[in-house]
């Protein structure tokens, strides 16, 4: 057994200098520290993962096999179908557990419309053109009794050409049993509309895995939603709260299609960065997760809590082919409601994977998804052991608004970076990842997309010297840049041809403090980036830390429509054009697989009231695929628990540093950086790095096998190399068997 109290002491003593405020405890001992008065409410809130119950789920009470016939079978699974409505049953042969896309609706509080929705395999909405406007109408296979199904059985499943009775919209659904699940397809090419009826959305098997919850919950378990870092929505009895529907677009809002304005007092909530959801019936007993591999760029995840219109928890993907939007006809209020003219040309493909036993939980889903990603994209999983790296993001130059001309604030020079890197190395921080932001002549904000040349205070030679030094130390270094925005006043892009346009025809803008920018067309991004490649090559730049390109995904609708899936392809092409290493800030799935480093991993979900837990789904899924770094510790607001969370989630630390005082950044767009001076941070970095490294290096290179909540606020992480981390978030020492875990500390058990 390996104790790390010594490091805790070191951490508490030095980091308290700045962050915990031990100054106060030195002066008045009787005043409790922040961490002393954490209540139980905190650990039972959705900021933390909740303990599991040990209830056994032996069968799925909603689902019966009567009326279903087997169409395919393998060692693990058996697929049944009912040819009337194409509803399916999947029997897990290992446990005998049966999953169903529908259920017997006779005893339920459901009207005719709802019964049709539950029973049908596919449920669409469409826009019907009338003289005055277009109505939104929904239809499922059994809505009218007029639908025709032309079903053929295939080797591993079935294919059915569906003609919806009322709308006459046609599409082809095919379901195939795979080794560990299902593959469900609706090819875009198979969709046919009519003159008056145009397809809006498609939902496939929306009630697969539905759970009934009234005063009691039928089946204990949860829905996994990859919201932010990952959230669970546990099945709860109806009662205390009326929860709202969860509905979020995958990969955030498409700025090209949707208008949205957030109050200036609020912060944008984290979105969905992986196209996936999971349903667990009995933790570590029965589960499946659905992964959308086609159509994800124009789909959303919708999840209904029980009590919201029905008594069921149910979750599904909705592929959006057309939207209705308000086309402004005047600059103030006037607008007409219009339906999107061109369809979003995407296939729908959902891969369902059924998990059993120890794998049937969010950790198992993350690990399985991890393996499938490796397989799909032919990735190499990194199993480095040893010291963990720390990301040091240096701010070099920032812009400051002036009366006639903007001025520049130089807060760090290349020689400062050299001395900081060296001194941290001598002080024991051996592994460093260096990121430089604001290296361009126009400073950090407002450069995009025009980055050349290097800023003048250090100059080209200064940067060359720095890179040479870092190469000698074998530290990777990354230049921060953003090629998706065209700042007003920055060169390098053409306002007439290079802007992305909304469906309403206007360009779209954003602003950072006083500086406004346009979003650039993905094609323009690619072109501009390509022009800079030789600059990077000539200057020995082997790493780029790109903002926004992996995260913000939008369509453009000028003369030609450029849809989100095309944007993805264009962005991937852009990233692949660079031969060096790529770091991305909060990237989406498609970009993660094209990158090497993942910056600013979220620590929480959006904490909607319907969520019951925060779980580290994203860090687990991408573990080993990319190096994952936290948001800069400078911005942490819950110390020291955020440090514990970093270790719990297996994420590496990050810091924003400057040589000069951050007070120089006042009145600049970086004024939110309120503390970054290296002199202030040196001791803290060393203490925190030492603490985190000592723990994380014991599990480096191993996957997490299980994550168990011993009691609210106490986590037990078991890794594949049999190392166990006990994490105590609470302010009291905790005893587990013979083991005592100090308050706000971690115990590492090595085999």
């Amino acid at each position: 057994m390996f104790s790390i109290k010594r490091f805790l002491l070191l951490v508490l003593l030095s980091s308290s200098l700045l962050l915990i405020g031990s100054v106060r405890s030195e002066i008045v001992d009787e005043t409790p520290d922040y961490e002393d008065y954490q209540l139980d409410a905190l650990f039972s809130s959705n900021r933390y993962t909740q303990p599991e119950t040990d209830a056994v789920v032996s069968n799925n009470p909603l689902v019966k096999l009567d009326g279903y016939s087997v169409v395919a079978e393998n060692e693990k699974l058996r697929l049944y179908v009912k040819l009337d409505d194409l509803s399916i049953r999947v029997e897990d042969i290992r446990s005998g557990y049966v999953w169903g896309s529908s259920f017997d609706t006779t005893d339920q509080r459901l009207n005719k419309t709802w019964r049709a929705r539950v029973n049908s395999a596919v449920w669409i909405t469409y826009y019907r053109k009338t003289a005055v406007r277009e109505e939104v109408i929904e239809e499922s296979i059994t809505t009218s009794g007029l639908s025709t199904l032309d079903t053929t059985l295939t080797q591993n499943g079935f294919t059915s050409d569906i003609v919806f009775g009322e709308s006459n919209i046609r599409l082809t659904l095919s379901v195939e049993l795979t080794a560990d699940g299902l593959k469900v397809d609706i090819p875009f090419a198979s969709i046919t509309e009519t003159e008056t009826n145009r397809l809006g959305t498609v939902r496939v098997f929306p009630f697969l895995g539905a759970v009934l919850a009234k005063e009691n919950v039928d089946v204990p378990g949860y829905t996994l939603l990859p919201d932010g870092v990952g959230a669970l929505m546990r099945f709860q009895p109806q009662g205390v709260y009326q929860h709202l529907i969860y509905s979020k677009p995958i990969y955030n809002r498409d700025y090209g299609l949707y208008n949205y304005e957030l109050s200036e007092n609020l912060i944008e909530e984290p979105g969905i960065s992986v196209p996936l959801y999971g349903i667990v019936h009995g933790s570590s007993q029965h589960a499946f997760y659905a992964w959308m591999t086609e159509g994800d760029t124009s789909a959303r995840i919708i999840s209904y809590p029980a009590g919201r219109t029905t008594d069921f928890y149910w979750t599904f993907f909705e592929t959006v082919y057309r939207i209705q939007y308000e086309q402004p006809t005047s600059r103030n209020m006037g607008s007409v409601v219009t339906t999107q003219a061109e369809m979003n040309g995407v296939d729908t493909r959902i891969i369902y994977t059924f998990l059993d036993g120890n794998e049937a939980n969010y950790v198992g889903m993350a690990n399985d998804y991890h393996d499938k990603l490796i397989e799909k994209h032919n990735l190499a999983s990194n199993s480095n052991t040893g010291d963990i790296p720390v990301r040091l993001e240096f701010l070099m130059r920032e812009r400051k608004p002036g009366l006639l001309f903007d001025s520049y604030v130089n807060v760090t020079k290349t020689e400062d970076v050299i001395s900081i890197v060296d001194s941290l190395k001598t002080l024991g921080v051996e592994e460093q990842t260096i990121v430089l932001r604001g290296w361009s002549n126009r400073g950090y904000t407002g450069s995009s997309p025009d980055y050349q040349p290097f800023e003048s205070s250090s100059g080209k030679s200064g940067y060359a010297e720095l890179f040479e030094h870092l190469n000698q130390l074998e530290y990777e270094y990354y230049l921060n840049a953003d090629y998706t925005k065209g700042y007003f006043g920055a060169g390098g892009y053409n306002v007439m041809t290079d802007l992305a346009r909304k469906i309403t025809g206007s360009a779209y803008t954003g602003a950072k403090m006083d500086y406004s920018y346009y979003w650039l067309h993905p094609q323009a991004t690619a072109n501009i980036f390509e022009k800079d490649l030789s600059f990077y090559k000539d200057n020995d730049v082997n790493g780029l830390a790109l903002e926004s390109i992996g995260k913000d995904l939008f369509s453009s609708h000028g003369r030609e429509t450029f849809q989100r899936n095309q944007s993805v392809d264009k962005y991937l092409e852009t990233l692949n054009a660079f031969s060096g290493s790529i770091a991305l800030y909060q990237p989406n799935e498609y970009a993660v697989v094209a990158s090497d480093l993942y910056f600013d991993v979220p620590f929480y979900s959006s904490l909607q009231a319907k969520f019951t837990d925060t779980v580290p789904f994203i860090p687990l899924a991408f573990r080993g695929l990319v190096e994952m770094y936290s948001t800069p510790v400078n911005f942490f607001n819950s110390m020291p628990t955020d440090i514990l969370r970093m270790i719990d989630f297996g994420i590496y630390p990050s810091y924003i540093l400057t040589q000069s005082s951050s007070s120089l950044l006042m009145d600049t767009p970086s004024e939110y950086i309120s503390s970054s001076q290296y002199d202030v941070w040196e001791e803290i970095i060393i203490a925190q790095y030492t603490y985190i490294n000592e723990i994380l290096k014991t599990s480096a290179g191993s996957m997490l096998e299980s994550r168990e909540v011993c009691m609210p606020g106490v986590i037990k992480n078991t890794y594949a190399n049999d190392v166990i981390h006990y994490i105590n978030y609470t302010a009291d020492p905790v005893r587990i068997g013979s083991l005592t875990i100090a308050a706000l500390d971690i115990e590492v058990i090595q085999p």
Binding site: L18, L19, G21, V23, V28, T31, P32, Y34, Y37, Q38, L39, D40, A41, L42, S45, N46, R47, G228, V240, L262, S263, L266, I267, E269, P270, G271, T329, S330, R331, N332, G334, V336, T338, T339, P401, L403, L404, S506, A507, Y508, G510, A511, Y518, W519, D552, Q586, F603, Y604, S606, L607, Q608, A609, T614, F636, N637, S638, S663, M666, S674, Q677
Partner: protein
């Protein structure tokens, strides 16, 4: 030709409006589990973003259903909720455990709650129109009915909504329509008078409409606004909040005298107020914003917000009450979501509280250590910088004080430390200064005695002459003459054509340039212009536009009233009349850099002289150019100003009409395009 130009112009305008972009995309995303931004009071009453002060950590009534609760109060480790819809009071521990229900079957519409140190529970029931007292076991102990004293007034409403109780057992009640102020009763229910009455507002708009619209009731309706809620500190001082008035957050002494007014009142409806042990003031508004003030009423933090439909932890639907416990945790009750959310302060808040506390106690050394730490953690927090400035000031570290005051943009502090530094500098350099002055005088005498001075002047004579006779120098001469002998200068402008229109135009732009330059030079003590926010176009309109408008209006009026001057005379004369400003504005700006607020009068007096002088010169210019008598000139100037206003109004109306036209064309084109497309 003209038509073509108009058409092209219109097309251009339409094209530009089409491409105007509308969407602003929020750049930052919530990654720390906090859905709102936190602001603090920055420079020029601008709220600036700062580190997170409070983190939402969960819901107090996880396992207990409340029904439209309206008020909340913390006392001795218990949280009491006025569960209005449920007609009772619910007690929780601070850990979120349900303890008990009080007043079920008795209460009707409990709107307000207060609990004393002795755990007597006072409930203001709007439905019953009573104030009821319970003990902690739930026994109904006492009831305060409507006072019967004549002083209270038979017609005065008594609908208790919010209540506090002082250590002597006196109760303070607010309620619907309690315009007379807070009802104060002693422990026996004897009415003792109204407390904390707001001032009746003098409203120009109302007075105006009273004069013109002859609606006589209006003025009578101008009653003082009623306080919406109140709180009492550990020291027994009562605080009130009132919406929609400038001094909405006030602290009273026992005699109902205002002893402190918060420096910033939120614009939204104020909902609840509570005071913590440090005498920090917490105010909640109906937009879900929580404001924390220190005991001097300075805004420390503002955070929170309304939920947009996803029910995010930390946001509200209809927040109705706030309370703070001994550890500084906040509990906010929400009528819309029927829940109580808990917020923990970050270490940042705790440090500020302690820093302030030691500072107010006069323990400067301890306080200094805390503020210095805080400054490291957040170099831009202006209250810390201000406090450090004060501390350094007291310990005589004037340079450091100046630095921190400047960071805090604390003008008074800056001025004081600047005075000290300048004083020291003068003391240290008095000898040198004296020597320099004496030697200059000596040099002058020596030069004069030896005749060198004459020789020097002689040798410069030719270059000076060449310079002064140069073409471009003529306007300079006239400017100089304007100072010495205005009538003569105007004579030259008018009769001798001594200056060209071109030179006048140059001077207009020079003036504009000098004004902008003066913004940049003027010491921040005397400048209230934020350089970064200056809009050059606006400044140009303000300086040159107004002057030209003046010229045009004056010309129009004077042609009607037998003025002699042509437009070009007025155009030229006006700018030359501003010679004092042209000559003086930059030296004045430079002067501001060596002055502190102690000598502020020097600055303002000089400025007054410069502007008044220019005013007089303008007057003389008008008089001379048009050859008016004194009275005629006054009449002309008054009419000119009136005309300027009329022209401005006309231009505004034309602008509006033009906008309407553009709007119409825009809609037309756009709609046609859409109809064609679909």
């Amino acid at each position: 030709m003209m038509k073509k130009i108009i058409l092209v112009f219109m097309l251009l305008t339409i094209a530009s409006t089409f491409s105007i972009s509308s969407l602003t995309v929020a750049a930052d995303e919530m990654s720390g589990g906090v859905p709102y931004k936190t602001y603090t009071m920055g420079v020029n009453r601008r709220l600036v973003e700062t580190d997170t002060a409070y983190v939402p950590v969960g819901i107090l009534n996880q396992n207990y259903l409340l029904n439209a609760p309206r008020d909340i109060h913390y006392q001795n480790d218990y949280v009491f909720v006025a569960n209005t819809g449920g007609k009772n009071v619910v007690v929780f521990t601070t850990r979120g455990e349900y303890v008990k229900t009080i007043g079920a079957g008795i209460l009707n519409e409990p709107m307000g709650i207060y609990v004393t140190d002795e755990m007597d529970i006072y409930v203001a029931d709007k439905g019953l129109k009573q104030l009821l007292v319970f003990d902690f076991d739930g026994n109904h102990m006492n009831t305060f009915y409507k006072p019967t004293e004549p002083l209270f007034g038979e017609d005065s409403p008594y609908t208790p909504e919010k209540v506090v109780v002082d250590s002597g057992g006196n109760v303070y009640i607010t309620g619907e329509g309690s315009v007379n102020g807070i009802i104060q009763m002693n422990r026996n229910g004897v009415f003792r008078g109204y407390f904390g009455v707001n001032q009746t507002r003098f409203d120009w708009r109302m007075r105006f409409s009273d004069w013109f619209l002859a609606i006589t009731d209006e003025l009578a309706k101008n009653l003082p606004p009623a306080p919406t809620n109140l709180a009492i500190s550990d020291k027994g001082l009562v605080y009130t909040i009132t919406s929609n008035i400038d001094d909405g957050i006030k602290k009273f002494n026992m005699m109902s005298v205002v002893i402190m007014t918060a420096g910033y009142t939120p614009e939204d409806l104020l909902v609840d107020i509570d005071i913590d042990g440090y005498e920090n003031i917490f105010v909640l508004d109906d937009q879900g914003q929580i404001h924390q003030y220190d005991q001097y009423g300075r805004l420390l933090f503002r955070f929170g917000g309304l939920d947009t439909g996803n029910q995010l932890l930390g946001l509200f639907s209809q927040p109705t009450g706030i309370t703070v416990d001994e550890l500084g945790n906040l509990y906010v009750v929400d009528k819309g979501y029927s829940n109580v959310q808990i917020f923990y302060p970050t270490a940042f808040v705790s440090q500020i509280n302690e820093g302030n506390d030691y500072y107010f106690q006069g323990k400067l050394e301890v306080s200094k250590v805390i503020w210095e730490q805080l400054h490291k953690q957040n170099s831009n927090f202006s209250i810390a910088n201000s406090a450090l400035g004060d501390i350094y000031m007291k310990s005589g570290d004037y340079d450091l004080a100046l630095e921190h005051y400047e960071l805090a943009k604390d003008r008074n502090g800056y001025s004081e430390s600047f005075w000290e530094i300048r004083n020291l500098w003068l003391q240290n350099n008095a000898g040198t200064i004296l020597v320099v002055i004496i030697s200059l005088i000596g040099l002058n005498i020596v030069l004069a005695l030896t005749g060198l001075k004459r020789k020097l002047a002689h040798s410069l004579e030719i270059p000076v002459k060449t310079l002064t006779s140069a073409h471009f120098y003529a306007p300079v001469k006239v400017l100089g003459r304007m100072i010495k002998n205005p009538a003569d200068a105007i004579y030259r402008i008018k009769r001798e054509n001594a200056v060209s229109t071109r030179s006048a135009t140059f001077l207009y732009f020079l003036l504009f340039f000098l004004v902008i330059l003066s913004y940049a030079i003027t010491s921040f003590l005397f400048s209230h212009v934020e350089v970064a926010n200056v809009n050059l176009i606006m400044e140009l309109v303000k300086v040159v536009g107004v002057l030209i408008l003046w010229g045009v209006a004056n010309y129009l009026i004077s042609t009607l009233s037998e003025g002699e001057g042509w437009f070009k005379d007025i155009y030229r004369g006006t700018i030359y009349a501003l010679a004092p400003i042209i000559f003086g504005i930059i030296p004045l700006a430079i002067l501001s850099n060596v002055l502190s607020y102690n000598e502020a009068f020097l600055y303002s007096f000089t400025r007054f002289i410069i502007y008044a002088w220019s005013g007089i010169l303008i007057f003389i210019t008008v008089k001379e150019i048009h050859n008016y008598s004194f009275l005629e000139t006054i009449k002309n100037i008054v009419l000119t100003i009136f005309t300027m206003i009329i022209i401005a109004l006309l231009m505004f109306i034309i602008y509006l009409l033009f906008n309407q036209l553009m709007e119409f064309l825009f809609s037309l084109v756009k709609e046609v395009v859409i109809r064609v497309q679909h």
